[in-house]
Protein backbone atom coordinates (compact mmCIF):
# COMPACT_ATOMS: atom_id res chain seq x y z
CA UNK A 1 0.00 0.00 0.00
CA UNK A 2 1.37 3.44 -1.02
CA UNK A 3 0.84 6.27 1.36
CA UNK A 4 1.00 9.79 -0.03
CA UNK A 5 1.50 12.78 2.22
CA UNK A 6 0.53 15.89 0.31
CA UNK A 7 1.05 19.26 1.93
CA UNK A 8 -0.74 22.18 0.35
CA UNK A 9 0.72 25.57 1.13
CA UNK A 10 -1.54 28.57 0.73
CA UNK A 11 -1.06 32.23 1.63
CA UNK A 12 -4.37 33.22 3.07
CA UNK A 13 -7.75 32.02 1.89
CA UNK A 14 -7.60 33.58 -1.56
CA UNK A 15 -9.82 32.46 -4.44
CA UNK A 16 -6.93 30.49 -5.90
CA UNK A 17 -6.27 28.89 -2.50
CA UNK A 18 -9.88 27.91 -2.15
CA UNK A 19 -9.90 26.39 -5.66
CA UNK A 20 -6.69 24.53 -4.94
CA UNK A 21 -8.12 23.03 -1.75
CA UNK A 22 -11.28 21.97 -3.55
CA UNK A 23 -9.35 20.52 -6.49
CA UNK A 24 -6.95 18.64 -4.25
CA UNK A 25 -9.70 17.22 -2.06
CA UNK A 26 -11.63 16.07 -5.11
CA UNK A 27 -8.48 14.48 -6.47
CA UNK A 28 -7.63 12.61 -3.30
CA UNK A 29 -11.18 11.36 -3.01
CA UNK A 30 -11.08 10.07 -6.59
CA UNK A 31 -7.64 8.55 -6.29
CA UNK A 32 -8.06 6.74 -3.00
CA UNK A 33 -8.04 2.97 -3.42
CA UNK A 34 -7.19 -0.01 -1.31
CA UNK A 35 -3.62 0.24 -2.58
CA UNK A 36 -3.03 3.90 -2.06
CA UNK A 37 -3.91 6.32 0.60
CA UNK A 38 -3.65 10.08 0.09
CA UNK A 39 -3.34 12.30 3.09
CA UNK A 40 -3.63 16.09 2.67
CA UNK A 41 -2.41 18.80 5.03
CA UNK A 42 -3.15 22.46 4.36
CA UNK A 43 -0.66 24.99 5.71
CA UNK A 44 -1.32 28.70 5.64
CA UNK A 45 2.11 30.30 5.47
CA UNK A 46 0.73 33.60 6.69
CA UNK A 47 0.32 31.82 9.99
CA UNK A 48 3.51 29.78 9.80
CA UNK A 49 6.09 31.79 7.83
CA UNK A 50 8.98 29.66 9.09
CA UNK A 51 7.52 26.68 7.20
CA UNK A 52 7.53 28.72 3.99
CA UNK A 53 11.15 29.49 4.68
CA UNK A 54 12.06 25.87 5.38
CA UNK A 55 10.25 24.70 2.30
CA UNK A 56 11.68 27.57 0.20
CA UNK A 57 8.29 28.46 -1.15
CA UNK A 58 8.01 31.26 -3.69
CA UNK A 59 4.57 30.86 -5.17
CA UNK A 60 1.31 29.61 -3.74
CA UNK A 61 -0.84 27.61 -3.91
CA UNK A 62 1.73 24.85 -4.06
CA UNK A 63 1.28 21.23 -3.25
CA UNK A 64 4.33 19.34 -2.06
CA UNK A 65 4.50 15.56 -2.04
CA UNK A 66 6.36 14.97 1.21
CA UNK A 67 5.99 11.21 1.06
CA UNK A 68 7.00 9.01 -0.54
CA UNK A 69 10.39 10.55 -1.37
CA UNK A 70 11.61 12.16 -3.55
CA UNK A 71 9.83 15.42 -2.84
CA UNK A 72 7.82 16.75 -5.77
CA UNK A 73 5.84 19.94 -6.06
CA UNK A 74 3.16 21.47 -8.26
CA UNK A 75 2.08 25.11 -8.21
CA UNK A 76 -1.18 26.67 -9.27
CA UNK A 77 -4.84 26.17 -8.44
CA UNK A 78 -4.50 22.50 -9.48
CA UNK A 79 -7.36 22.84 -11.94
CA UNK A 80 -5.53 20.73 -14.52
CA UNK A 81 -5.80 17.32 -12.88
CA UNK A 82 -3.64 15.45 -15.43
CA UNK A 83 -0.73 17.78 -14.85
CA UNK A 84 -1.17 17.50 -11.09
CA UNK A 85 -0.98 13.74 -11.28
CA UNK A 86 2.07 13.81 -13.51
CA UNK A 87 3.71 16.48 -11.40
CA UNK A 88 3.15 14.61 -8.15
CA UNK A 89 3.79 11.28 -9.81
CA UNK A 90 0.60 9.70 -8.51
CA UNK A 91 -0.45 6.55 -10.27
CA UNK A 92 -3.90 6.50 -11.76
CA UNK A 93 -6.11 3.54 -11.21
Amino acid sequence: MTKYLLRLYIAGMTPAARRAIENLEALTADMATQDQELQVEVVDILERPQLAEDERILATPVVVRKLPLPVRRVVGDLSERERVLVGLDILER
Binding site: A11, E53, R56, L58, P61, V75, D77, S79, V84, G87
Partner: protein
Protein backbone atom coordinates in the same frame (compact mmCIF):
# COMPACT_ATOMS: atom_id res chain seq x y z
CA UNK B 1 11.41 55.87 9.07
CA UNK B 2 13.18 58.05 11.55
CA UNK B 3 13.02 61.66 10.50
CA UNK B 4 16.15 62.60 12.41
CA UNK B 5 18.23 60.31 10.21
CA UNK B 6 19.74 61.63 7.01
CA UNK B 7 17.85 61.21 3.80
CA UNK B 8 20.49 58.92 2.37
CA UNK B 9 22.03 55.62 3.36
CA UNK B 10 25.70 55.12 2.63
CA UNK B 11 26.62 52.17 0.45
CA UNK B 12 30.07 51.60 1.88
CA UNK B 13 31.51 52.45 -1.51
CA UNK B 14 32.99 55.88 -1.11
CA UNK B 15 32.95 56.88 -4.74
CA UNK B 16 29.39 55.67 -5.22
CA UNK B 17 28.16 57.62 -2.23
CA UNK B 18 29.85 60.65 -3.71
CA UNK B 19 28.18 60.11 -7.08
CA UNK B 20 24.84 59.62 -5.34
CA UNK B 21 25.44 62.70 -3.21
CA UNK B 22 25.31 60.79 0.04
CA UNK B 23 24.03 57.35 -0.85
CA UNK B 24 20.83 55.53 -1.61
CA UNK B 25 17.49 57.15 -0.69
CA UNK B 26 16.58 56.07 2.84
CA UNK B 27 13.60 53.80 3.20
CA UNK B 28 13.11 53.57 -0.57
CA UNK B 29 13.87 50.99 -3.23
CA UNK B 30 16.77 51.51 -5.59
CA UNK B 31 17.60 49.48 -8.65
CA UNK B 32 20.91 48.37 -10.12
CA UNK B 33 20.80 46.88 -13.56
CA UNK B 34 23.63 45.50 -15.63
CA UNK B 35 24.74 42.49 -17.61
CA UNK B 36 26.36 39.46 -16.07
CA UNK B 37 29.63 40.17 -14.29
CA UNK B 38 29.21 43.92 -14.15
CA UNK B 39 29.36 43.99 -10.37
CA UNK B 40 25.70 44.18 -9.32
CA UNK B 41 26.02 41.51 -6.67
CA UNK B 42 29.26 42.92 -5.29
CA UNK B 43 27.75 46.37 -4.91
CA UNK B 44 24.67 45.00 -3.20
CA UNK B 45 26.72 42.76 -0.90
CA UNK B 46 28.91 45.69 0.06
CA UNK B 47 25.86 47.84 0.71
CA UNK B 48 24.39 45.16 2.94
CA UNK B 49 27.51 44.10 4.85
CA UNK B 50 28.68 47.68 5.31
CA UNK B 51 25.34 48.42 6.92
CA UNK B 52 25.65 45.41 9.20
CA UNK B 53 29.14 46.49 10.23
CA UNK B 54 27.58 49.82 11.23
CA UNK B 55 24.93 48.12 13.29
CA UNK B 56 22.15 47.98 10.71
CA UNK B 57 21.03 44.37 10.22
CA UNK B 58 20.29 43.23 6.69
CA UNK B 59 18.34 40.70 4.69
CA UNK B 60 19.56 39.33 1.39
CA UNK B 61 17.14 37.65 -0.94
CA UNK B 62 18.84 35.71 -3.68
CA UNK B 63 16.98 34.65 -6.80
CA UNK B 64 20.03 33.40 -8.61
CA UNK B 65 23.18 32.63 -6.65
CA UNK B 66 23.69 29.98 -4.01
CA UNK B 67 23.58 31.55 -0.52
CA UNK B 68 26.80 29.75 0.40
CA UNK B 69 28.55 31.27 -2.61
CA UNK B 70 27.31 34.72 -1.64
CA UNK B 71 28.61 34.32 1.90
CA UNK B 72 31.93 33.21 0.55
CA UNK B 73 31.96 36.21 -1.76
CA UNK B 74 31.33 38.65 1.07
CA UNK B 75 34.02 36.98 3.21
CA UNK B 76 36.38 37.56 0.31
CA UNK B 77 35.85 41.33 0.53
CA UNK B 78 36.72 41.24 4.19
CA UNK B 79 33.25 41.11 5.71
CA UNK B 80 32.76 38.44 8.39
CA UNK B 81 29.50 37.40 6.76
CA UNK B 82 29.42 33.97 8.41
CA UNK B 83 29.62 35.63 11.80
CA UNK B 84 26.88 38.09 10.83
CA UNK B 85 24.65 35.14 9.99
CA UNK B 86 25.45 33.39 13.27
CA UNK B 87 24.75 36.56 15.21
CA UNK B 88 21.43 36.91 13.45
CA UNK B 89 22.39 40.22 11.89
CA UNK B 90 22.39 38.88 8.36
CA UNK B 91 19.70 36.64 6.93
CA UNK B 92 19.92 35.13 3.50
CA UNK B 93 16.68 33.98 1.90
CA UNK B 94 17.16 31.40 -0.77
CA UNK B 95 14.55 32.19 -3.39
CA UNK B 96 16.16 30.39 -6.26
CA UNK B 97 13.28 28.96 -8.23
CA UNK B 98 13.13 25.18 -8.33
CA UNK B 99 11.71 23.01 -11.01
CA UNK B 100 8.10 22.86 -9.95
CA UNK B 101 5.43 21.77 -12.35
CA UNK B 102 2.59 24.15 -12.67
CA UNK B 103 -0.94 22.93 -12.95
CA UNK B 104 -3.58 25.52 -13.39
CA UNK B 105 -3.82 29.27 -13.09
CA UNK B 106 -3.71 31.66 -10.23
CA UNK B 107 -0.24 31.52 -8.78
CA UNK B 108 0.37 34.06 -6.05
CA UNK B 109 3.70 35.44 -4.86
CA UNK B 110 2.48 36.18 -1.36
CA UNK B 111 4.97 33.63 -0.03
CA UNK B 112 7.85 35.86 -1.11
CA UNK B 113 6.42 38.78 0.79
CA UNK B 114 5.66 36.64 3.80
CA UNK B 115 9.15 35.26 3.94
CA UNK B 116 10.82 38.64 3.52
CA UNK B 117 8.57 40.25 6.08
CA UNK B 118 9.26 37.45 8.52
CA UNK B 119 13.02 37.83 8.04
CA UNK B 120 12.87 41.63 8.32
CA UNK B 121 11.01 41.33 11.57
CA UNK B 122 13.24 38.67 13.05
CA UNK B 123 16.47 40.51 12.26
CA UNK B 124 15.19 44.05 12.67
CA UNK B 125 16.72 44.72 9.26
CA UNK B 126 17.23 48.22 7.98
CA UNK B 127 18.70 47.15 4.66
CA UNK B 128 17.25 44.75 2.13
CA UNK B 129 18.73 43.37 -1.06
CA UNK B 130 16.81 41.53 -3.74
CA UNK B 131 19.52 40.06 -5.92
CA UNK B 132 18.75 39.07 -9.52
CA UNK B 133 15.01 39.57 -9.32
CA UNK B 134 14.74 38.87 -13.04
CA UNK B 135 15.29 35.23 -12.12
CA UNK B 136 11.62 35.20 -11.16
CA UNK B 137 10.49 35.53 -14.70
CA UNK B 138 12.19 32.39 -15.90
CA UNK B 139 10.76 30.46 -12.99
CA UNK B 140 7.17 31.29 -13.74
CA UNK B 141 7.42 31.68 -17.47
CA UNK B 142 4.06 31.61 -19.18
CA UNK B 143 2.06 32.38 -16.06
CA UNK B 144 -0.51 34.93 -17.11
CA UNK B 145 -0.74 36.55 -13.73
CA UNK B 146 3.02 36.98 -13.28
CA UNK B 147 3.22 40.64 -14.16
CA UNK B 148 0.44 41.50 -11.79
CA UNK B 149 1.97 39.41 -9.01
CA UNK B 150 5.45 40.89 -9.48
CA UNK B 151 3.98 44.37 -9.34
CA UNK B 152 2.34 43.40 -6.12
CA UNK B 153 5.74 42.33 -4.76
CA UNK B 154 7.34 45.59 -5.86
CA UNK B 155 4.52 47.63 -4.35
CA UNK B 156 4.87 45.77 -1.13
CA UNK B 157 8.64 46.32 -1.07
CA UNK B 158 8.10 50.02 -1.56
CA UNK B 159 5.68 50.11 1.33
CA UNK B 160 8.13 48.48 3.72
CA UNK B 161 10.09 51.70 4.24
CA UNK B 162 13.28 49.68 4.28
CA UNK B 163 16.22 50.89 2.25
CA UNK B 164 16.20 48.34 -0.53
CA UNK B 165 18.55 47.56 -3.34
CA UNK B 166 17.16 45.46 -6.17
CA UNK B 167 19.44 44.06 -8.86
CA UNK B 168 18.43 42.83 -12.25
CA UNK B 169 20.10 41.81 -15.47
CA UNK B 170 19.76 43.75 -18.68
CA UNK B 171 18.33 40.77 -20.46
CA UNK B 172 15.22 41.55 -22.44
CA UNK B 173 14.64 44.73 -20.50
CA UNK B 174 13.13 42.99 -17.52
CA UNK B 175 13.16 46.15 -15.44
CA UNK B 176 11.39 48.18 -18.11
CA UNK B 177 8.79 45.55 -18.89
CA UNK B 178 7.85 45.10 -15.30
CA UNK B 179 7.84 48.79 -14.59
CA UNK B 180 10.62 48.47 -12.03
CA UNK B 181 12.50 51.41 -13.32
CA UNK B 182 9.79 53.98 -13.80
CA UNK B 183 7.39 52.74 -11.27
CA UNK B 184 9.07 51.55 -8.13
CA UNK B 185 12.72 52.55 -8.02
CA UNK B 186 13.59 55.98 -6.69
CA UNK B 187 17.12 55.56 -7.80
CA UNK B 188 18.34 53.63 -10.84
CA UNK B 189 21.97 52.76 -11.44
CA UNK B 190 23.17 51.14 -14.65
CA UNK B 191 26.42 49.16 -14.87
CA UNK B 192 28.27 48.13 -17.97
CA UNK B 193 31.61 46.94 -19.23
CA UNK B 194 33.54 48.44 -22.08
CA UNK B 195 36.64 47.25 -23.82
CA UNK B 196 38.93 49.89 -25.24
CA UNK B 197 42.47 49.34 -26.42
CA UNK B 198 42.22 45.75 -25.18
CA UNK B 199 41.58 47.06 -21.70
CA UNK B 200 38.31 46.48 -19.96
CA UNK B 201 36.69 49.30 -18.08
CA UNK B 202 33.68 49.01 -15.82
CA UNK B 203 31.33 51.93 -15.90
CA UNK B 204 28.56 53.09 -13.62
CA UNK B 205 25.88 55.59 -14.50
CA UNK B 206 23.11 57.01 -12.34
CA UNK B 207 20.11 56.88 -14.63
CA UNK B 208 17.62 58.28 -12.20
CA UNK B 209 17.62 59.73 -8.74
CA UNK B 210 14.27 60.89 -7.54
CA UNK B 211 14.15 63.76 -5.07
CA UNK B 212 17.84 64.39 -5.05
CA UNK B 213 20.67 65.61 -7.19
CA UNK B 214 23.12 63.21 -8.77
CA UNK B 215 26.25 63.46 -10.81
CA UNK B 216 25.62 62.83 -14.46
CA UNK B 217 27.98 60.89 -16.65
CA UNK B 218 29.65 57.56 -16.56
CA UNK B 219 31.94 56.71 -13.71
CA UNK B 220 34.60 54.05 -14.06
CA UNK B 221 35.09 51.70 -11.18
CA UNK B 222 37.35 48.91 -10.10
CA UNK B 223 36.12 45.47 -9.16
CA UNK B 224 38.51 42.85 -7.91
CA UNK B 225 39.21 40.60 -4.98
CA UNK B 226 39.34 43.62 -2.69
CA UNK B 227 35.84 44.68 -3.61
CA UNK B 228 34.55 47.75 -5.34
CA UNK B 229 36.43 50.99 -5.62
CA UNK B 230 35.53 54.06 -7.56
CA UNK B 231 36.62 57.63 -7.77
CA UNK B 232 34.50 60.37 -9.24
CA UNK B 233 35.57 61.56 -12.67
CA UNK B 234 34.82 65.17 -12.03
CA UNK B 235 34.30 66.18 -8.47
CA UNK B 236 32.78 69.40 -7.26
CA UNK B 237 34.49 72.75 -7.78
CA UNK B 238 38.13 72.77 -6.76
CA UNK B 239 38.12 73.20 -3.06
CA UNK B 240 41.36 74.99 -2.56
CA UNK B 241 42.10 74.10 1.00
CA UNK B 242 45.64 75.33 0.92
CA UNK B 243 47.82 75.06 3.91
CA UNK B 244 50.08 77.86 5.02
CA UNK B 245 52.44 75.30 6.47
CA UNK B 246 55.72 74.96 4.64
CA UNK B 247 57.65 71.75 4.21
CA UNK B 248 61.29 71.19 3.51
CA UNK B 249 62.25 69.60 0.23
CA UNK B 250 65.09 67.83 2.00
CA UNK B 251 67.64 69.87 0.07
CA UNK B 252 68.46 73.10 1.92
CA UNK B 253 69.54 74.92 -1.22
CA UNK B 254 66.24 74.10 -2.89
CA UNK B 255 64.24 75.35 0.07
CA UNK B 256 66.10 78.61 -0.33
CA UNK B 257 65.13 78.75 -3.98
CA UNK B 258 61.51 78.23 -2.93
CA UNK B 259 61.06 81.31 -0.84
CA UNK B 260 63.45 80.17 1.87
CA UNK B 261 61.35 77.51 3.59
CA UNK B 262 60.38 75.09 0.86
CA UNK B 263 56.99 74.52 -0.77
CA UNK B 264 53.58 74.67 0.90
CA UNK B 265 52.21 71.51 2.41
CA UNK B 266 49.60 69.91 0.19
CA UNK B 267 50.92 71.42 -2.99
CA UNK B 268 51.52 69.60 -6.23
CA UNK B 269 55.15 69.55 -7.23
CA UNK B 270 56.41 68.49 -10.63
CA UNK B 271 60.07 67.68 -11.24
CA UNK B 272 60.76 67.65 -14.98
CA UNK B 273 64.00 66.63 -16.53
CA UNK B 274 65.75 64.44 -19.02
CA UNK B 275 67.32 61.12 -18.21
CA UNK B 276 69.96 61.22 -15.51
CA UNK B 277 69.19 64.69 -14.27
CA UNK B 278 68.42 63.44 -10.77
CA UNK B 279 64.64 63.52 -10.71
CA UNK B 280 64.24 60.35 -8.71
CA UNK B 281 66.99 61.35 -6.31
CA UNK B 282 65.37 64.70 -5.70
CA UNK B 283 62.01 63.02 -5.26
CA UNK B 284 63.60 60.65 -2.74
CA UNK B 285 64.98 63.64 -0.87
CA UNK B 286 61.42 64.96 -0.55
CA UNK B 287 60.31 61.54 0.70
CA UNK B 288 63.03 61.23 3.29
CA UNK B 289 62.52 64.75 4.56
CA UNK B 290 58.85 63.94 5.05
CA UNK B 291 59.69 60.71 6.89
CA UNK B 292 62.06 62.57 9.16
CA UNK B 293 59.24 64.96 10.00
CA UNK B 294 57.22 61.91 11.02
CA UNK B 295 54.95 62.04 7.98
CA UNK B 296 53.76 59.04 6.04
CA UNK B 297 54.95 58.70 2.46
CA UNK B 298 53.53 56.59 -0.32
CA UNK B 299 56.10 56.10 -3.04
CA UNK B 300 54.55 54.88 -6.25
CA UNK B 301 57.22 53.84 -8.67
CA UNK B 302 56.16 53.20 -12.23
CA UNK B 303 59.50 52.01 -13.48
CA UNK B 304 62.13 51.13 -10.93
CA UNK B 305 61.51 48.21 -8.67
CA UNK B 306 61.62 48.73 -4.94
CA UNK B 307 65.00 47.02 -4.57
CA UNK B 308 66.51 49.10 -7.31
CA UNK B 309 65.21 52.25 -5.74
CA UNK B 310 66.61 51.48 -2.33
CA UNK B 311 69.98 50.58 -3.76
CA UNK B 312 70.25 53.55 -6.07
CA UNK B 313 69.27 56.04 -3.44
CA UNK B 314 71.57 54.60 -0.80
CA UNK B 315 74.48 55.35 -3.13
CA UNK B 316 73.85 59.05 -2.80
CA UNK B 317 73.37 59.17 0.92
CA UNK B 318 69.73 58.27 0.94
CA UNK B 319 68.24 55.74 3.26
CA UNK B 320 64.89 54.69 1.93
CA UNK B 321 65.22 51.25 3.50
CA UNK B 322 65.42 52.77 6.98
CA UNK B 323 62.17 54.68 6.60
CA UNK B 324 60.45 51.72 5.00
CA UNK B 325 61.55 49.37 7.76
CA UNK B 326 60.48 48.96 11.38
CA UNK B 327 63.18 51.31 12.69
CA UNK B 328 61.77 54.09 10.57
CA UNK B 329 58.28 53.24 11.78
CA UNK B 330 57.21 52.01 8.33
CA UNK B 331 56.61 55.58 7.39
CA UNK B 332 57.63 54.97 3.81
CA UNK B 333 55.42 52.67 1.79
CA UNK B 334 56.81 51.74 -1.57
CA UNK B 335 54.52 50.44 -4.27
CA UNK B 336 55.82 49.51 -7.64
CA UNK B 337 53.09 49.76 -10.28
CA UNK B 338 54.24 48.13 -13.42
CA UNK B 339 51.20 46.51 -14.95
CA UNK B 340 51.43 47.71 -18.48
CA UNK B 341 48.25 46.03 -19.57
CA UNK B 342 46.27 47.94 -17.01
CA UNK B 343 43.93 50.62 -18.21
CA UNK B 344 44.42 54.22 -17.23
CA UNK B 345 41.33 54.16 -15.09
CA UNK B 346 42.54 51.12 -13.30
CA UNK B 347 45.88 52.78 -12.64
CA UNK B 348 44.15 55.82 -11.24
CA UNK B 349 41.84 53.81 -9.07
CA UNK B 350 44.56 51.53 -7.77
CA UNK B 351 46.62 54.54 -6.78
CA UNK B 352 43.68 56.22 -5.10
CA UNK B 353 42.80 53.02 -3.31
CA UNK B 354 46.35 52.80 -1.98
CA UNK B 355 46.09 56.42 -0.91
CA UNK B 356 42.85 55.88 0.96
CA UNK B 357 44.25 52.68 2.46
CA UNK B 358 47.53 54.15 3.73
CA UNK B 359 46.50 57.76 4.29
CA UNK B 360 49.88 59.29 3.39
CA UNK B 361 50.89 62.95 3.82
CA UNK B 362 53.07 62.83 0.75
CA UNK B 363 52.68 60.83 -2.43
CA UNK B 364 55.47 60.34 -4.92
CA UNK B 365 54.66 59.46 -8.49
CA UNK B 366 57.82 58.44 -10.28
CA UNK B 367 57.66 59.01 -13.21
CA UNK B 368 54.21 60.10 -14.28
CA UNK B 369 55.41 60.37 -17.85
CA UNK B 370 55.26 56.59 -18.08
CA UNK B 371 51.49 57.04 -18.31
CA UNK B 372 51.56 59.45 -21.16
CA UNK B 373 54.11 57.47 -23.08
CA UNK B 374 52.05 54.34 -22.87
CA UNK B 375 48.60 55.70 -23.42
CA UNK B 376 46.84 58.04 -25.74
CA UNK B 377 47.84 61.57 -24.89
CA UNK B 378 44.57 63.28 -24.08
CA UNK B 379 43.19 60.50 -21.90
CA UNK B 380 46.47 60.20 -20.05
CA UNK B 381 46.62 63.90 -19.43
CA UNK B 382 43.06 63.97 -18.18
CA UNK B 383 43.67 61.06 -15.92
CA UNK B 384 46.81 62.64 -14.53
CA UNK B 385 44.96 65.87 -13.85
CA UNK B 386 42.29 63.91 -12.03
CA UNK B 387 44.84 62.04 -10.01
CA UNK B 388 46.55 65.27 -8.98
CA UNK B 389 43.19 66.83 -8.28
CA UNK B 390 42.09 63.96 -6.08
CA UNK B 391 45.35 64.00 -4.18
CA UNK B 392 45.06 67.72 -3.64
CA UNK B 393 41.52 67.30 -2.46
CA UNK B 394 42.81 64.97 0.22
CA UNK B 395 45.45 67.53 1.18
CA UNK B 396 48.21 65.21 0.17
CA UNK B 397 51.47 66.74 -0.99
CA UNK B 398 52.28 65.30 -4.39
CA UNK B 399 55.72 65.06 -5.88
CA UNK B 400 55.62 63.84 -9.46
CA UNK B 401 58.57 63.35 -11.75
CA UNK B 402 58.42 63.73 -15.48
CA UNK B 403 60.95 62.24 -17.82
CA UNK B 404 61.63 64.51 -20.74
CA UNK B 405 63.02 62.90 -23.85
CA UNK B 406 66.37 64.13 -25.09
CA UNK B 407 64.72 65.29 -28.28
CA UNK B 408 62.09 67.27 -26.45
CA UNK B 409 64.41 70.22 -26.12
CA UNK B 410 63.49 70.33 -22.46
CA UNK B 411 59.85 71.09 -23.23
CA UNK B 412 57.29 69.28 -21.13
CA UNK B 413 54.47 67.70 -23.05
CA UNK B 414 52.41 66.74 -20.08
CA UNK B 415 50.73 70.11 -20.28
CA UNK B 416 49.32 69.85 -16.79
CA UNK B 417 50.78 73.14 -15.65
CA UNK B 418 47.40 74.41 -14.47
CA UNK B 419 47.42 71.77 -11.76
CA UNK B 420 51.04 72.26 -10.75
CA UNK B 421 51.90 74.52 -7.84
CA UNK B 422 55.63 74.12 -7.95
CA UNK B 423 57.43 73.27 -11.14
CA UNK B 424 61.11 72.49 -10.93
CA UNK B 425 63.16 71.79 -13.97
CA UNK B 426 66.34 69.78 -13.95
CA UNK B 427 68.67 69.78 -16.86
CA UNK B 428 72.05 68.61 -17.97
CA UNK B 429 74.82 70.93 -18.96
CA UNK B 430 77.50 69.32 -21.02
CA UNK B 431 80.80 70.94 -21.79
CA UNK B 432 84.51 70.62 -21.14
CA UNK B 433 84.08 66.85 -21.15
CA UNK B 434 81.79 66.66 -18.18
CA UNK B 435 78.10 66.71 -17.32
CA UNK B 436 76.66 68.95 -14.71
CA UNK B 437 73.13 69.09 -13.38
CA UNK B 438 71.29 72.34 -13.33
CA UNK B 439 68.16 73.18 -11.45
CA UNK B 440 65.75 76.03 -11.70
CA UNK B 441 62.29 76.80 -10.43
CA UNK B 442 59.93 77.56 -13.28
CA UNK B 443 57.05 78.47 -11.08
CA UNK B 444 55.95 78.25 -7.49
CA UNK B 445 52.54 79.58 -6.60
CA UNK B 446 52.56 81.96 -3.70
CA UNK B 447 56.29 81.77 -3.14
CA UNK B 448 58.99 84.26 -3.93
CA UNK B 449 61.33 82.19 -5.97
CA UNK B 450 64.88 82.41 -7.15
CA UNK B 451 64.98 82.94 -10.87
CA UNK B 452 68.55 81.79 -11.01
CA UNK B 453 69.68 78.57 -12.61
CA UNK B 454 71.72 76.78 -10.00
CA UNK B 455 73.94 73.80 -10.01
CA UNK B 456 72.61 70.63 -8.50
CA UNK B 457 75.17 68.15 -7.23
CA UNK B 458 74.68 64.59 -6.13
CA UNK B 459 77.42 63.44 -3.82
CA UNK B 460 77.94 60.53 -1.47
CA UNK B 461 76.75 62.77 1.31
CA UNK B 462 73.55 63.74 -0.43
CA UNK B 463 72.43 66.55 -2.59
CA UNK B 464 73.58 70.09 -2.60
CA UNK B 465 72.72 73.13 -4.61
CA UNK B 466 75.42 75.58 -5.49
CA UNK B 467 75.33 78.97 -7.00
CA UNK B 468 77.13 78.78 -10.33
CA UNK B 469 80.24 80.89 -10.99
CA UNK B 470 79.47 84.02 -12.91
CA UNK B 471 82.72 85.25 -14.44
CA UNK B 472 84.08 87.36 -17.29
CA UNK B 473 82.75 85.11 -20.05
CA UNK B 474 79.32 84.07 -18.70
CA UNK B 475 78.05 81.48 -16.26
CA UNK B 476 80.09 78.33 -15.80
CA UNK B 477 79.41 75.15 -13.89
CA UNK B 478 81.25 72.18 -12.54
CA UNK B 479 84.96 71.66 -13.01
CA UNK B 480 85.00 74.34 -15.64
CA UNK B 481 83.79 76.60 -12.95
CA UNK B 482 86.85 75.85 -10.88
CA UNK B 483 89.17 76.12 -13.86
CA UNK B 484 87.71 79.41 -14.84
CA UNK B 485 87.87 80.62 -11.33
CA UNK B 486 91.57 79.74 -11.08
CA UNK B 487 92.31 81.40 -14.38
CA UNK B 488 90.62 84.52 -13.29
CA UNK B 489 92.42 84.41 -9.99
CA UNK B 490 95.75 84.48 -11.82
CA UNK B 491 94.67 87.42 -13.89
CA UNK B 492 93.63 89.26 -10.82
CA UNK B 493 96.94 88.56 -9.15
CA UNK B 494 98.77 89.81 -12.15
CA UNK B 495 96.73 92.93 -12.46
CA UNK B 496 97.15 93.57 -8.80
CA UNK B 497 100.84 93.33 -9.25
CA UNK B 498 100.76 95.74 -12.15
CA UNK B 499 98.64 98.10 -10.22
CA UNK B 500 101.02 98.03 -7.32
CA UNK B 501 103.88 98.76 -9.62
CA UNK B 502 102.14 101.64 -11.31
CA UNK B 503 101.19 103.08 -7.97
CA UNK B 504 104.75 102.73 -6.80
CA UNK B 505 106.03 104.45 -9.90
CA UNK B 506 103.56 107.16 -9.46
CA UNK B 507 104.63 107.65 -5.88
CA UNK B 508 108.28 107.64 -6.86
CA UNK B 509 107.59 110.28 -9.44
CA UNK B 510 106.10 112.51 -6.80
CA UNK B 511 109.14 112.08 -4.67
CA UNK B 512 111.49 112.94 -7.53
CA UNK B 513 109.51 115.99 -8.33
CA UNK B 514 109.61 117.12 -4.76
CA UNK B 515 113.34 116.58 -4.57
CA UNK B 516 113.84 118.43 -7.75
CA UNK B 517 111.78 121.24 -6.50
CA UNK B 518 113.68 121.33 -3.27
CA UNK B 519 116.94 121.43 -5.18
CA UNK B 520 115.72 124.11 -7.52
CA UNK B 521 114.48 126.12 -4.64
CA UNK B 522 117.83 125.72 -2.93
CA UNK B 523 119.55 126.77 -6.10
CA UNK B 524 117.17 129.65 -6.54
CA UNK B 525 117.76 130.69 -2.98
CA UNK B 526 121.50 130.39 -3.30
CA UNK B 527 121.40 132.47 -6.45
CA UNK B 528 119.23 135.08 -4.77
CA UNK B 529 121.64 135.26 -1.86
CA UNK B 530 124.52 135.66 -4.27
CA UNK B 531 122.70 138.37 -6.19
CA UNK B 532 121.76 140.14 -2.99
CA UNK B 533 125.38 140.01 -1.92
CA UNK B 534 126.40 141.42 -5.31
CA UNK B 535 123.84 144.21 -5.04
CA UNK B 536 125.11 145.09 -1.61
CA UNK B 537 128.73 145.05 -2.77
CA UNK B 538 127.95 147.20 -5.74
CA UNK B 539 125.95 149.62 -3.62
CA UNK B 540 128.76 149.73 -1.10
CA UNK B 541 131.34 150.45 -3.82
CA UNK B 542 129.12 153.07 -5.40
CA UNK B 543 128.59 154.76 -2.04
CA UNK B 544 132.31 154.83 -1.26
CA UNK B 545 133.06 156.40 -4.64
CA UNK B 546 130.32 158.99 -4.09
CA UNK B 547 131.78 159.77 -0.63
CA UNK B 548 135.28 160.33 -1.98
CA UNK B 549 133.96 162.62 -4.71
CA UNK B 550 132.09 164.94 -2.33
CA UNK B 551 135.15 165.25 0.01
CA UNK B 552 137.27 166.50 -2.88
CA UNK B 553 134.60 169.02 -3.90
CA UNK B 554 134.43 170.48 -0.35
CA UNK B 555 138.22 170.92 -0.20
CA UNK B 556 138.31 172.91 -3.43
CA UNK B 557 135.90 175.59 -2.27
Amino acid sequence: MNSSKPETVNTGIQGLDFVLQGGLPRGRPSLIRGGPGTGKTVISLTFLCHGISQGEPGVLVTFDEDPEALLHHAQGFGFPADTYVKEGRLRILDMRPDQSESAGEGIELTAILTRIEYALKQTGAERLVLDAIDGMEGAFLGQSGLRKELNRVFDWVRDQRVTTLITTGELENFSTRFGLEDYIADCVIALKQEVQHRVMTRLLRVVKRRGGPHSAGEFPFLLDSRGIFMVPVSGAALDARVSSERISSGVPGLDEMLGGEGPYKGSTILLSGQAGTGKTSLASAFAQAACRRGEKVLYISFEESVDELVRNQSSIGGNLAHHAGPEGGHRLIMEPVRAIEMGLEEHLMRIMRSVSHHGPDLVLLDPVSSFTNRHEGECAKEMLLRLMYLLKEQRVTTVATELLSDSSGGVSHLDVSSMIDVWIKLRRHEGNGEMNRLINVIKARGLSISNQVKEFRMTDAGMTIETPYIGESGIVYGTARHARQEEDDQIIAQLQQELDQAQRLREEMEETNAARERLARAEREAKAVELDRQVMELERRLASIEGARSAIRRSRQ
